[in-house]
Symmetry: D2
Subunit: 284 residues, 4 copies
């Protein structure tokens, strides 16, 4: 399929000890471990909207069993008139949430000029779908020395995705997490935001030693589908999940970003309980 | 989403006792029950190629725990120069396989003029993807009085799929099984035959009282992915699987149709053991 | 690209005198010639809805310069509750329209059992998109001895399309017309019914000696776009057009099928005047 | 379709004098005029590879009748191991080409930190497909005061494309050119790099007062298709073309980037002669 010579630093072929199965190069982000036997769960609000909202959700996802906190301080939005995130103030709130919960923080960076600033707080830098082929940004986060979460582009092939990861690796970072987040496909018209492509998980793990996770929130756009699709993703070989969460007593319309696809902490707990229980026959 | 008035006979809305959850209208095909609590497994060769091959696989899938036998006597093939199935002889072999194993038989019918003939053997009639909108055929199988397995078209929306099922229902058959079998999407280029759309399962069950299954063989085109994707499909809410199987000692290149995506009976047994074990948190 | 051995009867390679350019195997349907230098125009109502409507439109498209009359007597409809065509009565109306205008008639056949009946009137048999891989139907129309218009399936590759044509050729008919009618693609969401794929025209002509036309009506779903897309199709190498037309004084909502994409005869005349005027540089 | 309130600065609705037809807001880039009656042609090498190559092609496209010179100094490449462009040296070569030919220069900028540098030479800044939603870059080029060429993303809807243009407009630049360059669609497998979406041209012009061009090079990936698709694009309402060109005596394999889709100057001249000749019936 792929051409291993296109991404030698992350290809499975030629990596000593990784040739013969789906074992991944594991790495830690704070207390969270990626690529090991049990799935790793990243959860949190879509956007950091306020101190109260973020601290509340951070504590709730910690109690539900999440390993890592997500939350956007800088938000890529289709329209320039939509809420663009709290920026620097959002980062400070994330730092406080980490201090209170002990959860490592992953947050998106969209601008090469802000990589240094975001690194002051982030334990892992997120590259969003729209920036999967923003090459100067890939190079800059690669130089920053922090682990990187790289979402798949909306219509990217495995090859393009792994070449994007190679840009990061070539710039100095070996610790990269790949996240499938749904692709554009004509058939989802009318029922989900995107089409979750679970066929991609194992073929990607066969090509690369990097761990591969799935994002049930963006791939569906519907909170009610998140538990179903979370179980499906783990069954398909995903090594973890990244899930958007709102407060237990909040309504979707109360939040400024992606309310319709955010689940409550009680639902998150059920998902984590299910997917962290080893199932007979699912071992590699 | 959908417009329930377009498919009143199969819509969840308005069906007494089915409004409030994902419960399906259950039905039996021989000893197999569809739409109940545990997933139902249909397995067998892609095509009936010989008496020995078919009886051997039939016994093996029975022992592995399958509920229903599949096998094509009439095969829709992209090229007129490909093997087109054994036809009438294939039906006789299927009848013998049923007699030997007790498994009910599902087999495809492509031609309105052959519905009567196929009904002499089939316990359930299969409509393939390419015929999802072959309306005269839908009407004819609807009149035949046998349960029908209706595969989703390669780029069909939920609405189109359910309208196709409504044609069958309107012609007289209430017992219809829907099967997601992968869709055409640009992103799978280079790694799988199609893109399995697991986002579709629960939204389809919300719209209709018909049971919904998944086909991990055609949706991937790769035997090695079938176990992963089978677990994923059940996690996503599929109420069963239809899987292509080759003999335990056969090689993919030994068969005339879809060898690359057919699994061995020992792998089938592992899949069935896994998906028939209720997992905490997966109940509806 | 394609594998010529898959469709030897229609492949350009190996066809004496056709190897080195885009020249097509020409053929006549009544007074209409397909595959020659000037584009051939097929026009008429989506469905035959009444004698008055059909005769009126037939005369109008004749006056506008069309070469062939289209009109559906048997209509494939997504919902079983939509108007399904006038059937046999529709055929009789088409025969009368031919008698009055002299235009040859192309009309769709969906059912193998009706090929003989449709042949009593049709000068050319149409296979619709949904039936591109209805193999028994392809074989039956191939045997009927009439020219065949084969629409491309909604997500068919060139290979699948040409293999479908080969089924027809292998059954006895060499006179086949290929029609690109728009494909399913995620990006058209919100503005057109399908995505017209004009990249396909010349590569298809390179593979086969069959003439290739385009359908600006179904590919857009919008009457206002039909003139633009008609010019585009001819520029891209299409050897003709098939266009849906309503009466000059009718409104889209007055018709039972595809009103929104049907143009008026006066617009058809402008299109024909434009595309039948040779443009410098467009010769092959 | 679209929601005009999402992009008020560029929407047709509410723009005095533009409401009722497809007339565009015209603007000049050096001697080139965009959005007026005749199509505007941008042509040049994919990448600036050397002084000789670029000056040679620049003179040739000038003689062929092109209005504007394209050429990449900074190249977005899927793989980090591919040629990434000559950078600053490439810009100097482009400046020299402009001095020799009088053609205004459009060249891509990928990095917010290089907008100022690229502006020293560029008469128009190009945003590539991969950066259509690189919002910090859109804002920075919007502030730079130069006209901007904005390519459509590989699977972008009209709404997303126009929202991206609105980011630029909101940052200070009213002179924006939209370029359709082919989308990702499953059906092109095996024959073209992308699927040119000509259905998008007029609906986009209906939504916005910005001029809309097409890119026949990237949308096909094949030099032999460029003349066909160029005519098609103009017929479909495109207000110009952007075309990749190699030297008259060069072979595709002699260039480091996109050789297979680059045409020779003599072919460019034929295209320009054809599309700049007004055709009866093509006026708006």
């Amino acid at each position: 399929m792929g051409d291993h010579r296109s991404y030698p630093l992350i290809a499975r072929a030629g990596k000593d000890g990784y040739e013969n199965n789906l074992q991944s190069r594991t790495f830690s982000v704070g207390s969270a471990v990626f690529g090991a036997d049990l799935p790793t769960i990243i959860a949190g609000p879509c956007a950091v909207e306020s101190r109260e909202q973020t601290l509340g959700i951070a504590k709730a996802v910690k109690e539900a069993g999440a390993d890592c906190l997500r939350g956007g301080a800088f938000k890529p939005r289709t329209s320039p008139y939509s809420f663009q995130g709290l920026g620097r103030e959002g980062l400070e709130i994330l730092a406080e949430a980490r201090a209170e919960t002990g959860l490592p923080v992953v947050t998106e960076v969209m601008d090469v000029r802000l990589v240094e600033l975001v690194c002051e707080v982030a334990d892992m830098l997120q590259i969003g779908s729209r920036n999967m082929q923003n090459f100067p940004l890939l190079i800059e986060v690669g130089k920053a020395g922090k682990p990187v979460l790289l979402k798949r582009g909306m219509s990217a092939t495995i090859d393009e995705w792994l070449c994007a990861a190679e840009y990061i690796a070539l710039s100095g970072t070996a610790e990269i997490l790949l996240v499938e987040r749904g692709v554009r496909c004509s058939v989802s018209r009318g029922y989900t935001r995107n089409t979750l492509d679970l066929n991609v998980i194992v073929p990607t793990r066969e090509e690369t030693v990097l761990p591969v996770l799935a994002d049930p929130s963006h791939s569906t756009g519907r909170a009610d589908l998140v538990p179903w699709v979370s179980r499906a993703a783990i069954g398909a070989g995903a090594q973890g999940l990244i899930i958007e969460v709102i407060g237990e007593d909040m309504r979707p319309e109360d939040v400024r970003c992606d309310g319709a696809q955010s689940i409550k902490p009680s639902v998150l707990r059920e998902i984590i309980d299910t997917v962290k229980t080893p199932v007979p026959g699912t071992a590699v």
